[in-house]
């Protein structure tokens, strides 16, 4: 049976993990490669590494991090942040990523999705959508959630899928960081509208939130950045709880 995926997201700034690691019992808590390996051992189904480095002149640092992380990671590995054109994606794939996540650049020019998909396959292209509730709908924001686009999240998800995206990573900006649960209404709406998998993101606070987003939100996967911040000891514990609630998960791994 196809299982629901638990994805651990590492936010990386200038080569260091900047959140979601305080509770990891690691020698070097801020090293992305070590964090990714620890999450994999704990039962993470996938790792997303998000480059939140503000300055573009540090891209080289990121490629080194991707390469070191990929070397010892035998689960799917997605890299996002700062990918503006095909050549950026190529560099990240060359460094060892299995998939790339694109956001602002895809909104600016949706042809980028098809360009990367044509070269590396749709399965390697994740379109990341940041959405916020505005006037009864969901509006797409870009540039790390700073700039409203006036576009409807549902329509954009459909368009991204039609352009060749392999998955949608859907972040609720309203819920992000609140630990008040995923926005199941948003997730369900998009999951029902596209045939490609939808990764729910933003708001994870408890195992119950994951159960809800899989059962009522119909998410195919759920992502958390600060997954250790909400009283669940680790991913293994989360998976035990999901398993007990009859959510199909890869457990034991």
């Amino acid at each position: 049976m196809l299982t629901k995926r638990i994805i651990a997201c590492l936010d990386v700034d200038d080569g260091r993990v900047v959140k979601g690691v305080q509770f990891l019992n690691l020698r070097d808590a801020g090293d992305p490669a070590e964090c990714a390996a620890a999450h994999a051992r704990d039962g993470a189904d996938e790792i997303v590494l998000l480059d939140i480095t503000a300055t573009s002149n540090k891209r080289q640092t990121m490629l080194g991090v991707v390469s070191r992380t990929a070397r010892g990671l035998f689960i799917p590995f997605t890299v996002g942040g700062g990918i503006r054109e095909l050549s950026d994606a190529e560099a990240v794939f060359d460094a060892g990523a299995d998939k790339i996540a694109i956001n602002s650049a895809a909104v600016k020019d949706s042809r980028l999705i098809g360009k990367i998909a044509a070269r590396f396959g749709s399965q390697a292209v994740v379109v990341s959508i940041d959405a916020r509730r505005v006037n009864g709908g969901f509006e797409v924001f870009v540039a790390g959630g700073r700039i409203p686009t006036g576009r409807d999240a549902l329509q954009w998800a459909r368009e991204a899928a039609a352009c060749g995206a392999g998955e949608i990573m859907l972040t609720s900006m309203d819920r992000d960081g609140t630990k008040s649960g995923f926005d199941c209404e948003l997730v369900q709406m998009v999951a029902d509208a596209v045939s490609i998998p939808v990764i729910a993101s933003g708001g994870a606070g408890s195992a119950r939130d994951f159960i809800e987003v899989f059962q009522s939100g119909r998410a195919d996967a759920a992502l958390a950045a600060s997954i250790f911040h909400f009283g669940i000891e680790n991913i293994a514990q989360l998976k035990r709880e999901l398993h007990a609630a009859h959510v199909p998960v890869r457990w034991p791994c």
Partner: protein, 197 residues
């Protein structure tokens, strides 16, 4: 030496990386001569079946088939496994190797496509490639078309329909999932391939 055949489709780093980790001698190559002299052949592939046309255009198809027919251990991964069948509805104009009967078809409309994520294996006894792999082990998939269950099927998975997760006939092996991304189960399978003679 294991040759990972590079016919211009996608990203082969992960496959090489996993073999490196296992300490195997491995080379990623687009050179027919290098494939011809390798002891074992790995044919990876992701994306659209039309990418397999890269084999025909580069002169690699013949050398890969000759190696397989000569009894060299051969492992097709994802599209590389689908290629072992007669063809795929995804690119009907392209001929597969035809080693296994049947064509690859889309998933039924009752399920989302592509099939992405970790699914369990129903393992049939006696496979060399899947030695010590327990039934119900999880492996990682990402694909839109699926190969039918045939006599050579050594493991099946279920997603809207039963399909071939792994096939095996003498020296010819194929897996629809990505062993290089299937954690310890996948590494065990690649290790088994390294040990096949």
């Amino acid at each position: 030496m294991i040759a990972i055949v590079d016919y211009g489709a996608g990203n082969l780093n992960s496959v090489k990386n996993a073999f490196d980790y296992l300490g195997a001698e491995v080379v990623v190559t687009a050179q027919p001569e290098q494939v011809a002299t390798a002891d074992k052949i790995v044919l990876p592939g992701v994306g659209h079946f039309s990418a397999m046309g890269g084999l025909d255009n580069t002169g690699l198809r013949d050398v890969v088939l000759q190696g397989a027919r000569a009894g060299k251990p051969f492992l097709g991964i994802c599209l590389g496994m689908q290629w072992l069948f007669e063809g795929s509805d995804e690119a009907p104009e392209l001929a597969g190797a035809g080693i296994f009967a049947g064509r690859c078809r889309p998933f039924p409309s009752s399920v989302k496509s592509p099939h992405v994520g970790w699914n369990s294996l129903a393992v049939r006894e006696g496979s060399r490639l899947l030695r010590n792999v327990a039934s119900e082990s999880f492996v990682y998939y990402t694909h839109s078309f699926q190969a039918p269950v045939v006599a050579a099927t050594t493991a099946a998975s279920e997603y809207g329909t039963q399909f071939s997760a792994a096939v095996e006939q003498d020296n010819i092996f194929g897996v629809q999932f990505h062993p290089e991304k299937s954690w310890t189960v996948g590494l065990l399978i690649l290790k088994n391939f390294c040990e096949v003679h």
